[in-house]
């Protein structure tokens, strides 16, 4: 079942003058990896709280799996919705509360009907998925490092085996290697278990290698919806949405200009996903160089080099 937002608005305190979400309209297919990006205050976090009905639209309607979320109406079986849509907050370590990692990880599954033994198995599996040793089970979550706490909090959501995983800036405090590993893990969950993964982030370059679909939020509005390549072609708009143009975009734009050879002519033909990783970018630069038709008028001026 897909996720469909139909003209969803949200006004905090019911004030229609100040819309935190302003007629947001999009469609997410099952098993997609989706990046929701935008600067601080663009409405990303408000949007994501609609995915499991922590917030409900004040106007419009949201369809999440087989749940219809409407303004002012209570949702039947909200508990089942929240089991199927796992939400990881911006400060997941604040979700921790128990005396041991094991109790923290087992709390969710047991709440949703698992026995203690079943919950423990789920807990161990979730820890392994996230790359932590089961030795941590007996430790207090509050004696772990910041990064480890974050991983445990994320594992506590994975232990509930949700169909949709929604994560708010999940990698902010992780070191770069753990960040890359974590995003790869999410991508694997998405591809091998057909889970829908929605990552809310301001780090566009971090999600680009994985995303099937990008949604860009700006001042409560959805200002862009499309593929990585489509966003690349609208890159000049990013600064107007208060975001920096990512490094791979900048390099490729410069190489397109240098070779007077539009990238779109090449990448669209083979239909693969544009990942903007270093190896993908290197391949495109090679392609641009190989296929460009140089005129003989003396080549391209290279900047500020007079020698």
């Amino acid at each position: 079942m897909p996720i469909v937002f139909n003209e969803v608005s949200h006004a905090y305190g019911g004030n229609p003058e100040q819309l935190a979400l302003d007629h947001v309209h999009f469609h997410i297919q099952d098993g997609q990896f989706v990046g929701i990006i935008g600067p601080t205050g663009s409405g990303k976090s408000t949007l994501l709280q609609h995915f499991n009905a922590i917030l409900r639209p004040t106007d419009g309607k949201a369809q999440v799996l087989d749940f219809l979320i409407l303004p002012g109406e209570k949702i039947h079986e909200v508990k089942r919705l929240r089991q199927r849509v796992g939400l990881v907050f911006q400060f997941p370590e604040q979700q921790l509360f128990a005396d041991t990692v094991e109790h923290d990880l087992c709390y969710g599954p047991m709440n949703f009907g698992a026995t203690e033994a079943e919950a423990k198995l789920l807990a161990i599996a979730a820890l392994e998925q996230i790359g932590l040793s089961p030795d941590l089970l007996s430790r207090s979550p509050f004696q772990l490092s910041g990064g480890q706490m974050r991983k445990v909090a994320i594992a506590s959501v994975l232990a509930m085996n949700p169909d949709v995983l929604v994560l708010d800036e999940p990698t902010a405090t992780l070191d770069p290697r753990s960040r890359e590993e974590f995003m790869t893990l999410l991508h694997t969950l998405c591809r091998t278990q057909n889970k829908t993964v929605i990552v809310v982030t301001h780090r566009l370059d971090e999600v680009l290698p994985f995303t099937d679909q990008l949604l860009v939020m700006h001042e409560g509005k959805l200002v862009f919806e499309g593929s990585n390549m489509a966003l690349y072609e609208h890159a000049e708009k990013l600064p107007t949405w208060r975001m920096a143009i990512p490094k791979p975009f900048r390099i490729l734009q410069a190489c397109e200009q240098m070779t007077n050879n539009p990238l779109a002519n090449h990448v669209r033909q083979d239909g693969t996903r544009a990942t903007f990783t270093p190896s993908w970018v290197a391949e495109q630069i090679h392609l641009l160089f190989q296929t460009s038709q140089r005129d003989d008028s003396g080549g391209v001026p290279c900047s500020n080099d007079s020698s």
């Binding site: 601080t40 430790r139 920096a244 791979p248 390099i251 190489c255 070779t259 190896s279 391209v300 900047s303």
Partner: protein, 281 residues
């Protein structure tokens, strides 16, 4: 040669009651000089935050000695020494106390028992410096991430500390706010009035600092300028750092496509070289 601002000699630390006996920090000795900007890098759990919390006595060493400006840290002088050390948290939400930005700034100053005129001078001076004058009457909740971090920093600088510790202070910020905070740290550094310690994974922040201390398994594994650290793959690997996008792109161009560009750490250098190659094609 100046006396060190921070001196650690043979410092060990382990959490009391930890079930295993592996110390979080093991035999750390270091000295940091006045006016230096030092980046502390390391994987999650390597002991970075623990190390800086020893500087201001938030944690106490289980063994070894720590001195701030030649004064050994003791239970008696802890409070005085803490006033010399500002601590900027990762999440600025963690340090707001007042209901307005102004109140928050004043709260710290009241603790220093300053007179009214001096408090006013400092609030005005540092609010102007960090460009938050128009935010003084706002509730911290009304501010954006970057504004919050600037407000938190203004409250800290108003206490006129000698040492300012940034504990992953840019990691929660969006790109624009992150650049803004790095600019502020640069200005502080240039003023020469502060010794700056920043725990970070951010390549731009590391590049901008004078010196990098790399921590792994509770020990210092490297102490060198940033340009030298990024050329040591073993140190980068143990600190869970990844080479910058440009370095990885250059490697790919070399290895996979025989494009003979040199290793460039920045966009400008790489593009310049690609352009030369292209015009010779």
């Amino acid at each position: 040669m100046n006396n060190p601002m921070i001196l650690m000699e043979g410092v060990h630390f382990s959490y009391r009651g930890a079930d295993n006996n592996t110390p979080i920090l093991h035999d750390i000795s270091l000295s940091i000089h006045p006016g230096e900007w030092v980046s502390i890098i390391g994987a999650n759990g390597s002991g970075k935050s623990t190390l800086v919390k020893l500087f201001n006595g938030l944690l106490r060493a289980t063994q070894g000695q720590i001195s701030i400006e030649d004064t050994p840290l003791t239970n008696e002088n802890l409070y005085d020494i803490r006033q010399q050390i500002g601590y900027v948290f990762q999440n600025p939400e963690n340090q707001f106390i007042g209901t307005t930005v102004m109140e928050d700034m004043v709260f710290g100053l009241e603790n220093l028992s300053l007179d009214h005129a001096e408090m006013e001078r400092r609030v005005n001076h540092y609010a102007a410096k960090l460009n938050i004058v128009s935010l003084l009457s706002k509730h911290p909740g009304e501010l954006s991430g970057g504004q919050k971090q600037r407000a938190a920093l203004a409250a800290i600088l108003a206490m006129e500390p000698r040492i300012v510790i940034f504990d992953e202070a840019t990691s929660m910020l969006d790109e624009q706010s992150r650049q803004e905070v790095i600019r502020i740290i640069r200005d502080m550094h240039q003023s020469g009035s502060y010794t700056i310690i920043s725990i970070t994974h951010d390549a731009d922040e590391i590049e901008a600092s004078d010196r990098v201390l790399a921590l792994a398994d509770g020990q210092i594994i490297a102490d060198a300028p940033p340009s030298s650290i990024t050329r040591q793959p073993d140190v980068m690997g143990r600190c869970n750092l990844i080479p910058s996008f440009y370095i990885r792109l250059t490697q790919q161009l070399n290895i996979s496509y025989d494009v003979p560009v040199h290793h460039h750490a920045d966009e400008h250098g790489l593009l310049e070289e690609l352009c030369q190659l292209y015009s010779m094609k």
